[in-house]
Amino acid sequence: MRMNNAVAIVWAAIAVAIPYSLRAGDPPAHLADSLAAGNAHYVKDNFKLAAAAYGWVLAQGYESAALYYNLGNAYYKGQNLPLSIWCYEKALLLRPNLEEARINLDLANGQLPDKVQALPRMSAWVLWQRMVNAMSPLGWALSTALACWLAAMGLAMLLLGRAARWRRWGLYLVLAAALALLGAGTLAYAQWAHRKNPRQAIVITSNVYVKSAPEAHATDLFLIHAGLNVHTDDQIGPWAKIRLADGKMGWVELTDIKPL
């Protein structure tokens, strides 16, 4: 019995330690001050000052979904629609299930002058996206780590178990955990890879003529406005090849867009 208690304590300690070590620590004290200042400015409707305070924390090399979200709100209220859209997209990259950011992003997008009819997506693609974004990066990290622990436990039962019953349950556990690890790992990796290189950008110049080729003299194909989310495919020198949601393609200068 004493042995079992010891095992239980070790398990409990591990169960607490993993999430704790994966989640972030408290921000340094001087950043905490400017975060508080940002919130205070926002409450008092000093949106430009709030944006400056949040932006300063970003400049110090720290980020979080909530920080991007608040910064996006400050930009939105400060009438800077393109940057607020950029911030909301960034927040959603860090935490895809941040509903507030989703709502505000939709609201901001609704005020853009460009109306882009998105191409219809296959339902399989939509399902895949939902699965990938079913959990936040922290959730995926925890679930894959948990699957690793269960798989190891199952292997221990399978290899070291004295009774046939233990070995049989061990086998079941190994199979289930391996399956879970494979599934969760694939989805988590897809989310991670998208976040590392989203290949998306927000137009930040108020009027941008999209060119047919990466040169200043190329034909103007169409006109887009600030705030539009574009897919960036390729890059040649100071030119980026962009694709709109409706499939239109062309080239714009890198200074006209802000990549996510």
Partner: protein
């Protein structure tokens, strides 16, 4: 004999074939002396075949003034026709001196033929010729006028190319040579090239014919200094041919006699336009308009019935790039439906500037009763006069809907009576969600919990523990020679089990099974207690091991006999049950004796 008669014919056939292979490729120039700026036409002539490729000479010391044109010539020499393919190209020498045009080549029937070199003397224009051209330039030129030399991005500027011809300068015909393309500008044409016509005008007392070649309004799309494309006309100037010796002193009034024609290009002067960027920072609401504008917005009525149409007209009037203005996206209050807006333009360029108005018409239908407040529309543009961004606002527009009998009663929920009509919860106004005040968790930029170092560590720890557990099990687990204490206890339990089994078989009288179990019990017990390797279990080895552990030889032999007894007792005579009982007792006693002597 017969074969010899054919010889002359064969010879003739061969000869004609050889003649057919005789190609000639020669070059001619229309003149061998030319003044700088003049043009020489080279004609390459190939006789006797069809070329598959023509390669013109390398342009060294001259420019090509035309593309290569291919032609065919038939010539008659007496009764014989020859066919020749010709290639003509015009060249324009670049400097004074002797110009050697390197050979051109053609490929005929797979072999390459080269022409001769051709030498052309290029002389400088004489003073007389220079004067002549200067005189023409004075009387025949294109003037470029820009309404402004420095503009802002998006600000309109008028550009006009005008042709001037002194009445005393004769020209034969005019054609376009190079036309401006206006790269980097949006243009609005004021006077089209098609409508070109000359009118008489008196300038400084001299009679001139003038005509606008092209007039456009340009809207620069980016900042920088632009050199506007030149407008080049090509014309031919008639020169009386009777003074061939010096064609440049001629009397323009002499209309009698024949003329030669001189090629002449009228080129507009180089003109630069400086485009300044708009001042930074640009307001985020900047519409892109540059110029001077006013803005009004009005509703068609102050009060309408529910479901009746109401129109919002937003009109921007002024001078500037009106056509680049995009419609506003209305954020309509709940219960107000809108239809795609219409754009009405009343833009004129007649006065040489783009001015007028652009009106956006929004058709809306109120679907509920009450007061509708429309969001404020604002127009932000760059005023080129004050050089500042100006924001004009419509003010808040509102209208009211009166009672509409069809809607009341069917949709209005009435308390207590009848079924309550449920409706979706709808937003009354749009606003973003509030900030998240708790920002205590921050990550370093780019950090992701998944695949972070601690994630990888925590995912691999269980497997490390597993490997260690397996190693420990192998090292100290049951049945291992290297774990004496645990191994022996396990073996003795096993021996006891065999002995118990044997006792059961003894009671039920199953002889063979009994002896098997009792032998196993003894063997397991002895190998474990005496620490014998598995393969060394025999009576001699057991007796030896017992003596090493302090048993006297007779004691050891007595135990050894038990081993034999277990092996052979089943063949011994006597009552089976009694023999079995005897073997069981002796085995148990032997084991007890060893336990006693060696300690538990």
């Amino acid at each position: 004999m017969v074969s010899k008669a054919w010889i002359p014919f064969i010879v003739m056939a061969l000869a004609s074939a050889a003649w057919a292979q005789e190609y000639r490729f020669a070059v001619e120039a229309d003149k061998t002396t030319v003044t700088l700026g003049g043009v020489v036409t080279l004609t390459y002539r190939l006789e006797g075949g069809n070329p598959t490729e023509f390669k013109e000479p390398q342009a060294q010391g001259f420019d090509y003034a035309s593309y290569v044109s291919q032609g065919m010539e038939m010539r008659q020499f007496g009764s014989r026709f020859t066919k020749a393919i010709t290639f003509s190209v015009s060249i324009k020498p670049k400097q004074v001196g002797t110009l050697v045009v390197q050979p051109a080549s053609v490929v005929v029937s797979g072999s390459r033929l080269e022409s001769d070199k051709i030498v052309i003397q290029v002389t400088d224009k004489g003073q007389a010729e220079k004067d002549f051209y200067a005189r023409i330039a004075q009387g025949l030129y294109i003037k470029v006028s820009l309404s402004k030399n420095t503009v802002y991005v998006g600000e309109q500027v008028r550009l006009t190319y005008t042709l001037y011809r002194n009445a005393s300068t004769p020209i034969a015909n005019l054609e376009y040579k190079t036309l401006p393309e206006y790269d980097g500008f949006w243009k609005e044409v004021l006077v089209d090239r098609q409508k070109f016509q000359l009118t008489d005008e008196l300038i400084n007392g001299e009679r001139y014919q003038t005509g606008i070649l092209e007039s456009v309004i340009l809207f620069p799309q980016k900042a920088g200094t632009f050199t506007l494309d030149p407008f080049v006309l090509h014309t031919r100037i008639p020169v009386p041919s009777r003074r061939r010796t010096n064609p440049f002193f001629f009397d323009f009034d002499d209309f009698f006699g024949s003329y030669n024609y001189l090629d002449y290009d009228i080129e507009s002067p180089i003109t630069k336009l400086t485009v300044n960027p708009l001042p930074q920072p640009q307001p985020s609401a900047f519409s892109g308009l540059v110029g001077k504008f006013s803005f009004t917005a009005a509703l068609s009525a102050q009060q309408v019935e529910v479901d009746d149409a109401i129109t919002l007209n937003a009109t921007v009037t002024g001078t500037g790039n009106l056509r680049m203005l995009n419609p506003w996206r209305l954020q309509l209050p709940l219960g107000l439906e809108d239809y795609p807006n219409k754009t009405h333009d009343n833009v004129s360029t007649k006065s040489g500037v783009m001015q007028g108005n652009r009106r956006f018409e929004y058709l809306m239908f109120p679907r509920r009763e009450g007061v509708f407040k429309l969001p404020e529309l604002s127009l932000c543009f760059f005023d080129v006069e004050t050089e500042k961004y100006i924001t004009l606002s419509s003010g808040i527009l509102s209208f009211q809907t009166g009672k509409s009998s069809e809607v009341v009663g069917t949709n209005a929920p009435t308390a207590g009576k009848g079924p309550v009509v449920k409706s979706d919860i709808a937003f009354i106004n749009n606003d973003i969600q509030y900030i998240i005040p708790d920002l205590s968790r921050l990550y370093p930029l780019g950090y992701s919990p998944f695949l972070s170092s601690s994630h990888i560590l925590w995912s691999s720890v269980p497997f490390i523990i597993l490997v260690m557990a397996i190693w420990l099990y192998r090292r100290y687990g049951p049945g291992q020679q290297l774990g004496p204490a645990y191994g022996m206890r396990h073996a003795l339990i096993l021996a006891k089990k065999h002995l118990d089994q044997a006792q059961k078989h003894m009671v039920s009288g199953r002889e063979n099974l009994f002896y098997d179990e009792v032998s196993k019990a003894l063997a397991t017990f002895l190998t474990q207690r005496l620490g014998l390797p598995a393969g060394e279990y025999s009576r001699d080895r057991v007796e030896q091991a017992l003596q090493e552990r302090g048993f006297t030889p007779p004691e050891a032999q007595a135990i050894g006999q038990v081993i034999d007894l277990c092996g052979f007792a089943r063949f011994a005579p006597g009552t089976k049950a009694l023999v079995m009982h005897d073997v069981f007792i002796q085995t148990s006693q032997a084991m007890a004796q060893i336990d006693q002597k060696l300690g538990a």
